[in-house]
Assembly symmetry: C2
Homo-oligomer: 148 residues x 2
DNA sequence: CCTTGAGTTGAAGTGAGCTTTAAGTTGCAG
DNA sequence: CTGCAACTTAAAGCTCACTTCAACTCAAGG
């Protein structure tokens, strides 16, 4: 038991529930071999994939986009650290941008809340170009969402 | 027509859909008077409440918590700028914390993705104490969510 | 061999935050 | 006073990211 992991072991090691792991597999985020009895067996490298998924979620990236990113990893060989680093580079830019926007929100917060402006429309806090928008789930047309 | 606003006018000015405004009202986030014909009429100060709701959402605060915060505003008189500033102070702390955590995530990202660690459990990126967790919607036990 | 815990599936449920729909009422411009 | 856009409601629908359930099957220790 150190070549491959059962779903329970992967769950314990990753901190992600088995049901979530099965869900991720359905979405194509991770993959598993099967035993003769149809049970999942995970290569240890899947642990890294799961880690990447969780980190990406914390950056506020939806699973579908994470899947697209993971699809860019070489399928033939086991991804090298360099592959992973390349992948995380784009995320890092999003992270930087998010941090920048939150900083702006913070700087604007007191002045805008305390000011006389009653219009979100003109308010710099609601400027679409500066929006932190377009994050998560839910059924909306255009609007922002909470995030990590 | 500059004493009170119709729902359409508030929607236009706030950038929030009428359906969302009605939803906010059901949750107790905003209030409206009614005309003889049962249509909503909003005081201009409601614009500020809507602004506060949207800003708070960008900070990653769920509507229920936003409601609790808004409930702390004086009901009797129209809230002063000072009232709003006091209210936003707590949010500002959350914002600072969020920014700090995202910064840490960013600093750890390359090193952890590039490193040999395969365990989210021990990895500083997944340390519960450092978690960006507990954000948004969805049915989960413990886990983080995307955010602004 | 037998029991028991761990794993399997598909389908349905959950929760946040809305939107959409249906069926009707109001308000104001012409 | 008529016509039409804007409003009203309750209920149902939607997305995301999962969890829970029911009904099994598998794997391994005693």
């Amino acid at each position: 038991m150190h070549e491959s992991l059962t779903i329970g072991q992967l769950a314990d090691r990753s901190g992600v529930a088995p049901s979530a792991l099965r869900y991720y597999e359905r979405l194509g985020l991770i993959r598993a071999e099967r035993t003769g009895g149809n049970q999942r067996r995970y290569a240890r490298t899947e642990l890294r994939r799961v880690a990447f998924v969780r980190i990406s979620q914390q950056v506020g990236i939806p699973l579908e986009e994470i899947r697209e990113a993971l699809d860019s990893l070489p399928a033939a060989r086991t991804p090298t650290p360099d592959d992973w680093t390349a992948l995380s580079q784009a995320w890092r830019e999003r992270l930087d941008e998010k941090i920048r926007l939150l900083g702006k929100l913070r700087d604007d917060l007191d002045s805008c809340i305390g000011c006389g402006c009653l219009s979100l429309q003109r308010c710099k806090l609601n400027n679409p170009d500066d929006s932190l928008a377009g994050e998560g789930p839910g059924a909306r047309l255009v609007l922002p969402r909470p995030s990590a």
